[in-house]
């Protein structure tokens, strides 16, 4: 079965982000597939490469990066949500004349159409956090 996974919660503020990662790993471990992970709302904070958690807390963003890159799964962060929250790739940082970009490796900034496309084409959509 093919899953689309949607993450609405920010790492450390919400359990949703880590629960989604555990679910995504379980999906693959069970022999299913994931067509895309879409980060929306505060979920886009996961894509911030400037997060520096305490050493005794899980590096949630890096764990997502490893998962996405290691399994060749798209990690898409919504552009409208990102811009509001200061998550910028180099293109957007240049466009809005900001001092720097902070999009973590393995993540891509793209539009809401990617959420709809993933939802349409998956057998199941599972959303974490509201």
């Amino acid at each position: 079965m093919n899953f689309a996974i949607v993450v609405h919660g920010a790492p450390y503020s919400s359990e949703a982000c880590l629960s989604a990662l555990k679910f995504a790993k379980a999906v693959l471990a069970s022999g299913h597939s994931i067509n895309r992970v879409f980060f929306y709302h505060d979920g886009v904070h996961t894509a911030n490469n400037q997060i520096a958690p305490p050493q005794d807390e899980a590096p949630v963003s890096e764990q997502w990066q490893e998962f996405g890159v290691g399994n060749n799964i798209e990690l898409i962060a919504c552009i409208a949500s990102c811009l509001r929250r200061g998550i910028l790739d180099e293109t957007e940082a240049d466009r809005y004349e900001k001092s720097g970009s902070n999009l973590a490796p393995g993540f891509t900034i793209s539009g809401l159409g990617q959420l709809i496309d993933a939802s349409i084409n998956a057998d199941r959509v599972v959303t974490f956090g509201v």
Partner: protein
């Protein structure tokens, strides 16, 4: 092509969930057949006469007027939640059908995917 039901359950202000939910609904209806169901405090999103002047936030409720133009198929709300909040459909910005539990169950069942906001 998959049909999508959007379920809106959050109040319009206090968080950005409702506003970003509406954005997703409008995008969805450009791609495929979409409907929307308002439940719980999500019904407050539809209240007419909203003003955000004193909040300093965007009055996105005006965007609900575009749902028909975007081809959103069914616009529905929970009848029990409507009654519980002392609202009636005349209080709303747009025309909405109210559904009892069985009607909501059927609406969810009629769609391939559900996105919650």
């Amino acid at each position: 092509m998959s049909t999508i039901l959007f379920v809106f359950s959050r109040p319009p202000h206090g968080s950005i969930n409702a506003q970003e939910g509406l954005d997703a609904l409008l995008m969805g209806s450009a791609f495929t057949t979409c409907s929307v169901l308002f439940v719980g405090d999500g019904l407050m999103q539809l209240a007419s006469g909203q003003s955000t002047d004193d909040l300093g936030t965007k009055n996105f409720s005006l965007g609900f007027g575009a749902l028909k133009d975007y081809g959103v198929t069914r616009i529905a709300c929970s009848k029990p939640d409507l009654v519980a909040r002392g609202l009636n459909k005349d209080d709303f910005l747009i025309e909405v059908e109210s559904l009892n539990a069985a009607g909501m169950q059927a609406l969810i069942h009629d769609h391939d995917k559900v996105l919650n906001f």
